[in-house]
């Protein structure tokens, strides 16, 4: 959210050179099959990857760690937030921001008191939907972070693992995920209605 909100606001309001390229780059993880995304992350941050080899020299290992889980989920899910946030900012009537400026509000005050409150519903629902997408992430996580119990095993991976031997356990986990998903959707509907 900290990175996605400014990017989406800038892309919604400022026409700069290269905006189309940035938009395409943001969209790529949505189109990419998660397994391919995981492989790409591995190629970038793995021990012998483009960036990972340098990180490795500094003693930082990314692949197959909890950080890798976070990275995989951010990579796959963040475009959902950025797209939703951009749509929310674009939906804020520009003339309201203009009116605020002529009334003496600085650009920062205009953003804080006019743009953000009006876009807030969309930002919250975007964040919650992104959380839901990250929660269900499977392909990129297993490729990039592995399936190490207690370290990188996420709920969907745990369901998959449990299903190999104990169907009841996987069903129990699945029920928990369904409940969480239901809660998320209810939360989104509440946020959007407000």
């Amino acid at each position: 959210m900290l990175c996605g909100t400014p990017i989406s606001y800038i892309n919604a309001r400022i026409a700069y050179r290269g905006r189309g390229i940035i938009d395409t780059l943001i969209d790529i993880p949505v189109i990419l099959p998660p397994a391919v995304a995981g492989l790409a992350l591995l190629m970038a941050f793995g021990r012998y990857g483009v960036l990972g080899s340098y990180l490795s020299i500094c003693g930082i290992e990314v692949a197959y760690t909890t950080l890798a889980v976070v990275l995989a989920q951010v990579f796959v899910a963040s475009p959902f937030y950025i797209k939703q946030a951009r749509a929310s900012f674009e939906a804020v009537d520009r003339s309201l921001e203009d009116a605020a400026r002529t009334l003496g509000a600085s650009p920062v005050r205009t953003f804080a008191r006019i743009t953000m409150p009006l876009a807030a519903g969309g930002l919250v629902s975007g964040a919650v939907m992104t959380f839901a997408r990250a929660l269900s992430e499977f392909g990129a996580t297993i490729m990039f972070a592995g399936n190490i119990q207690g370290r990188t095993q996420t709920m969907p991976l745990a369901i998959y693992t449990a299903m190999q031997g104990d169907l009841d356990a996987s069903l129990a986990l699945a029920v928990i995920l369904v409940i969480i998903s239901f809660g998320v959707i209810t939360g989104v509907r509440y946020a959007v209605r407000r």
Binding site: L96, D98, R101, T102
Partner: protein
């Protein structure tokens, strides 16, 4: 006193004009859609910047391409009633009116007091706590005017202030608007495409065609037959309609 000499290249034509409006005087800019009327207001308000020229208001330079002076909108001390009023939907009526005062550093208590006073003068004090969406067209215009005037601006800009109103409300609001501008005693620039609004609100009227002023003068000057061929074409039969209406009424 507002003096603006502005040149701005737009997509289809170059806006190139000069306007001067004295204190307590109302200039009405009239023209067809897309003639550049609203652009003039946005340039003066600082929401757009001219490519060349200068804008001075009450002795302050708001814009000057020679000295590269560009004052941001928040420092121009201009009250701008935008088309459709642009009231903040997430704030109450009182919150809308107090917003400008709070933005200019007026303490909260004083801002609320001044906002309440202005709403009282506008006759909408009873709606102070309502959301703007719950108001009628005329009430919304009063809120927009109150919001623009409460900060004691040096200039008032109004973009199609009566366009969103029904006929009956329009007649009432036209009179109220004129009284309000008179009372404020500051220069006012009104943009409209309705001849009747121009004639009743304007001390002077300027006709804008593709970014240039093609005729200007008092309402009588503008209505004089043969004053300007564009004016004749633009007003066409409505001129006669208004004059006949006046003679009958």
């Amino acid at each position: 006193m507002l003096v603006a000499v502005m040149e701005k290249h737009l997509r289809d034509y170059t806006l190139d004009l000069e306007i001067a409006v004295g204190d307590g005087e109302t200039l009405v800019l009239i023209g067809e859609n897309g003639a550049g009327k609203s652009t003039v207001l946005n340039l003066v308000a600082g929401l757009l910047h001219p490519d060349a020229g200068s804008i001075t208001l009450s002795g302050r330079t708001l814009f000057d391409d020679g000295t590269r002076t560009v004052l941001p909108p928040e420092d121009r001390r201009i009250g701008y009633v935008l088309q459709n009023y642009a009231l903040f939907p997430h704030m109450s009526v009182a919150g809308n009116v107090a917003f400008g005062l709070l933005s200019r550093g007026v303490p909260k208590g004083e801002a609320q007091e001044r906002a309440a006073g202005m709403l009282g003068r506008m006759g909408i004090a009873a709606h102070a706590d309502d959301p703007p969406g719950a108001l009628s067209g005329g009430q919304r215009q009063r809120v927009a005017l109150a919001r623009a005037l409460v900060t004691d601006p040096d200039l008032l800009l109004l973009d199609e202030p009566l366009a969103a109103l029904d006929v009956r409300t329009k007649n009432v609001m036209r009179k109220e608007l004129r009284a309000c501008i008179r009372e404020a005693g500051i220069p006012a620039v009104i943009v409209t495409h309705a001849l009747r609004d121009a004639l009743e609100l304007g001390d002077r009227i300027a006709v804008i065609e593709e970014g240039r002023i093609t005729a200007s003068g008092t309402p009588d000057d503008i209505l004089r037959p043969g004053a300007n061929s564009f004016v004749a074409n633009f007003f066409c039969s409505c001129v006669h309609g208004v004059r006949e209406g006046e003679s009958q009424g």
